[in-house]
């Protein structure tokens, strides 16, 4: 028997195990992951505003994986790609014939001086972890108002639209609580604007203005000064806060960096169309763990896995891989008050306006607020647990399609 080892039983790893398990005679599928529960990360956005609670976003991993796959609950401490083996927490060595790295991305607040201080969890928060979003929910429940600053430390981050969604949901949340006049919302971003793609900027640029969000652009944070309650950029600009919501540096797993397979943020260097390691042909990376220049988002992992299954079958038959992944991403963007947008794009096509046709439930509106998009986002949680993770087909194309999109010359 040959062994396919998947490191990480998150979105990508779970979907892959479910899709591959009955297709690989002569192979065993083993997953390694230190966490016993699967986290629905898109739900973190809603927790601070009391829309979701902890039980909405966790499920035991064992109930989501195929019976015939083996799950080892352990951390990977080292990977030796030359000898095709990984070392686990307690020193156990696990050899593999093929390896898929699906360890995702995680926040690393320690990279920003002053961010992890005694103020962490008090006047400094994040919603980029389950514990963080729960603590922030607790904070917002009794917060009297003031200056709320959202700061993206550095790109790329997971779910790049989440900070914008957080701002728009915060605006609606404080309005609902009749205290919007007591809250100042500030968005400090390293990018030159909140919306940078031409069509999105043209259609959505006004959104944050309308919601009274002040945007501090090209703000590259150097440090937090928790005693003075301010963040300071490399060019010595200061932004004062009463409540700081930070999106810390996102990075891949440390063992990836130590193995020599990673880039400057420990993301596995891969071919962007096949997701095969650029260094070892029996190593692949899926989802946020890969350095493909696609968004770090669950939808991307989903579209990657679809093509990867076909390519992995080709790989074990010693056939050449096909460039099956096109960078496709789509995501619902909450804009507050029960409305949302949908964006759909890939490596070559920016988010465009139009309609996104989907049988039965659609069409959704692209780059335009509507109620159905909001319901689509909420319904997606059910789809995630019951359809997507189980590897069942969704009636949506894997590769991006121009169907329904307005073709506008740029």
């Amino acid at each position: 028997m040959k062994n396919l080892l998947i490191i990480g039983a998150g979105t990508a790893g779970t979907m892959l195990a479910n899709k591959l398990v009955n297709k690989l005679p002569g192979w065993t599928v083993t997953l390694v992951d230190p966490e016993p529960v699967h986290l629905y990360q898109p739900g973190y956005l809603f927790i601070p505003f009391g829309v979701y609670k902890r039980s909405d976003v966790v499920r035991p991993k064992s109930t989501l994986l195929p019976r015939s796959a083996r799950l080892i609950q352990s951390r990977v401490t080292a990977l030796d790609p030359e000898r095709c083996m990984v070392r686990l927490d307690h020193g156990q060595i696990l050899p593999y014939d093929a390896l898929v790295i699906a360890t995702g991305a995680d926040i690393d607040p320690s990279q920003t001086p002053g961010l992890m201080s005694p103020a962490w969890g008090d006047s400094v928060h994040t919603f980029y972890s389950l514990d963080g979003s729960l603590a922030l929910a607790e904070k917002l429940r009794t917060w009297p108002g003031g200056r709320l600053v959202i700061n993206v430390v550095e790109n790329p981050i997971k779910c790049p639209v989440a900070p914008l969604e957080f701002l728009m949901l915060a605006d609606a949340f404080f309005r609902e609580r009749k205290m919007r006049d007591k809250v100042e919302l500030v968005y400090a971003t390293p990018l030159p604007a909140a919306f940078t793609k031409p069509k999105a900027a043209q259609r959505l640029g006004r959104l944050l203005d309308e919601k009274g969000v002040k945007v501090e652009t090209e703000f590259m944070i150097e440090r937090v000064e928790p005693e003075a309650s301010r963040i300071v950029s490399y060019d010595e600009r200061q932004v004062a806060y009463d409540l700081l919501v930070s999106i810390p540096v996102n990075a891949g797993a440390a063992f990836v960096g130590a193995s020599g397979l990673g880039d400057e943020l420990n993301y596995v260097r891969v071919d962007p169309h096949t997701l095969q390691s650029t260094q070892f042909e029996n190593i692949f990376a899926l989802g946020d763990a890969a350095n493909a220049p696609a968004s770090k988002a669950g939808s991307v992992a989903h579209f990657e896995v679809d093509g990867f299954v076909e390519n992995f079958m080709r790989y074990i038959q010693c056939k050449e891989l096909k460039p099956l992944f096109d960078g496709h991403a789509n995501c619902f963007v909450e804009t507050g008050d029960g409305r949302g947008l949908l964006i759909d794009f890939n490596y070559d096509t920016e988010p465009l306006p139009g309609r996104y046709p989907l049988p039965v439930v659609g069409p959704f509106t692209l780059l335009e607020e509507s109620r159905i998009n909001h319901w689509g986002k909420l319904a997606f949680r059910w789809i995630y647990w019951n359809v997507l993770l189980r590897g069942l087909p969704l009636p949506a194309p894997t590769r991006m399609s121009m169907l329904g999109k307005e073709k506008i010359a740029s």
Binding site: P192, M220, I343, F345
Partner: protein, 105 residues
């Protein structure tokens, strides 16, 4: 997209003055854009950054990230801000004839 003459060379630029075709870039064009950006003289340290960005641009002509620049050149972020004041990511991209840093929307 329009054509602009920079350092006596006609180049294609977008509405924000970024070159849309990285192959039209020359070192003279870089010098002229740098003066527009308020950098009178490009020192060897400036060139170390510009050359790194040119060599490590993405397949679709985008500049590397600040972290890739600091890792690749060994220059700390603070130095990049001193060399290219007020937003090195955007300034370096423009001077190096590469696309502006962008998010997904």
């Amino acid at each position: 997209m329009m054509v602009k003459t920079i350092a006596n060379i006609p180049v294609h630029v977008n509405e924000e003055g970024f070159l849309t075709d990285a192959s039209e870039w020359t070192r003279e064009v870089a010098g002229a854009i740098a003066s527009e950006e308020g950098i009178a003289d490009l020192t060897p340290e400036h060139w170390r950054v510009i050359d790194f960005c040119r060599a490590n641009r993405t397949a679709n002509g985008k500049s590397p990230t600040l972290r890739q620049i600091t890792t690749g050149t060994g220059l700390p972020t603070k130095t990049l801000f001193a060399l290219f004041p007020k937003g090195p990511a955007k300034k370096v991209a423009r001077i190096a004839g590469l696309g502006k840093p962008e998010g997904c929307v």
